[in-house]
Symmetry: C2
Subunit: 347 residues, 2 copies
């Protein structure tokens, strides 16, 4: 099997020196047009392609033009939208993107970050999972730019882009309060996760602002997927004095909550969720959500990263992106209506 041709082969074919080929390939102007023509013809005929690894090794600064993205799970729509935004910015800057999932496992997170750094990525966009990211200090000192997104990294200072989780959740809960709900259940993921803790805090703040005592029995934390959320919600609703409204702490949990409420015959429950999801508007009733812009999170993080790569040396920046309450109807279900009748809740 013929291995790949090198500039040496091209040089031989064109009858010039290595360096001349290199010059032509890099568009340096001190090559006679005729020579350049011969070199290009040789490149064409041999199907030569520059070995970027070797070039990056030699070039000073050792830029690989590769960005690493570490997310929890590519298959989660929130992260895949974020990933697309990062990829777009990356490509626009002429870089390539490597993606790895941490699976919410700190050990795996460290491992993939190390693997990225061993490949000498120029920058990292990280949705941090572990409890300590101080090991990144070394990488940053070595010149690798790091931007945290969705959650702040712990034990290290670096650019960070997060959504206004607490404020957004409070907004959603307030929407329920405004519609008269007083017993509002909350389903959240493990509060060890930054976003989960923030949103839960927002929930409590909204209740407190409304002068409502916090009733722990209406709260279920550590709920990590739609199936568990459905079970928890069903259980909450079957209690003696059930909540009249439920708040879902993230897209997966909200879906579980909606599934639970759909199964509740003769008991309609208001629902608001954090994070929009594709068909929220098409459910019955359409689901009101606190929408965070995953695409904007990714884009902002990537832009921040490239600003660093362009030499920006200002102190670490913390960016908080606002959320939007998308009112679709599910939050407006009046208390006391517990029949199967369909109310005319517009989309």
């Amino acid at each position: 099997m013929g291995l790949r041709p090198t500039i040496k082969d091209v040089a031989a074919e064109a009858g010039v020196s290595l360096k001349t080929v290199s010059r032509v390939l890099n568009g340096e102007n001190s090559v006679a047009p005729a020579t350049a023509g011969r070199v290009l013809a040789a490149v064409e005929s041999l199907g030569y392609q520059r070995n970027e690894s070797a070039a990056n090794l030699r070039r000073l600064g050792q830029s690989t033009s590769i960005i690493g993205l570490v997310i929890e799970d590519v298959a989660n729509p929130f992260y895949s939208v974020l990933a697309r935004a990062v990829e777009e910015v990356t490509r626009d800057n002429g870089y390539l993107l490597m993606v790895a999932s941490s699976g919410e496992d700190p050990a795996q997170e460290v491992e993939v970050i190390r693997a990225f750094c061993a490949r000498r990525v120029d920058g990292l966009v990280v949705v941090p999972t572990g409890a300590d990211h101080s090991f990144l200090r070394l990488e940053m000192a070595a010149g690798t730019a790091v931007v945290f997104v969705d959650r702040p990294g712990i034990g290290i200072e670096s650019d960070t882009v997060v959504a206004a989780n607490a404020r957004g959740a409070a907004h959603g809960v307030t929407h329920l309060l405004d519609h008269g709900h007083r017993r509002i259940g909350y389903l959240g993921d493990d509060p060890g996760i930054y976003t989960a803790a923030e949103r839960y805090a927002g929930y409590r703040q909204a209740l407190e602002a409304a002068g409502i005592d916090h009733d722990e029995s209406l709260v279920r934390l550590g709920v990590s997927d739609a199936v568990a959320a459905e079970a928890s919600a069903t259980e909450l609703l079957s209690r003696p004095d059930p909540p009249t409204a439920l708040f879902g702490g993230n897209n997966r949990l909200t879906i579980g909550v909606v599934q639970a409420t759909q199964r509740q015959n003769g008991q309609r429950v208001a629902v608001v969720g954090f994070d929009d999801f594709e068909l929220a508007a098409m459910l019955d009733p359409p689901v009101t959500v606190v929408s965070q812009d995953a695409s904007a999170l990714g884009r902002t993080a990537a832009e921040l990263l490239f600003r660093r790569l362009d030499g920006d040396r200002r102190p670490a920046q913390q960016v908080m992106l606002g959320t939007t309450l998308v009112v679709r109807g599910s939050g407006e279900i009046p208390i006391g209506i517990r029949s199967n009748e369909r109310e005319g809740v517009g989309s």
Copy 2:
């Protein structure tokens, strides 16, 4: 800013030669334990990390332990699930994954594949977009393994993993025929896309097998997103002699179709779609779909790729994965019921 330490620095720190450090790092056994200890201590104290690019450059065979994945759009759930499966297999094999989107643009596809090859990825998993992939012949000759997934590559022979698109679509259409539908509308993407053409063919085959003349006026091709699908479906349904059922050619189009049917007051339309989507079961009525296993597609493709990297030299394989008809109710809407009444269609 202190740049990264090299084995040279480690060697100096430990008072040994470059080669000894290299030996320790690669676990070669001809190093005295005491020396190895000093080297490891130096590695630790300097925070040394091997530069994989340089190592790969030197090592024979020049493996980078990187796999490239080219898909249409990371943010499309079908592809993001596929991507996750590929990533899992990749990581299990100790490789890293680079992902790039082609955006259904042949020029961009060529560009990202070239970029991957310039980085000397060991293998490529490609959802092909362009009309000609013969340019990959060179890369394959140079030793890069290539597996096509979701669609076959054109103008080149290589391992391919696709779903049973035609058979699956025929299955879905037959389901509608079995429920008495005779006027079945079809919405499909650009038939230049392999999967779209196959599914459309399956639709026609099913009609033909049922002895039904193909009515072109019920078909809309080249529909590329949910918004366009909703418009096309609405238009089809407002015709003088509207279809009683609609088949959506992919997940996005099915969603548009469902949106259109939800807006049809007083006219209930049966819907079956190709490709499952997250909340299909929660819509009203729950949407019957022909489900393809995106995860299995990705996993199978990646496994095929690693078999090649492990030295498998058998001729190119074509794998076709089956689809599953997931009956949820939307296909069973009886003809003639055109009121707003809710039928008791179970989930």
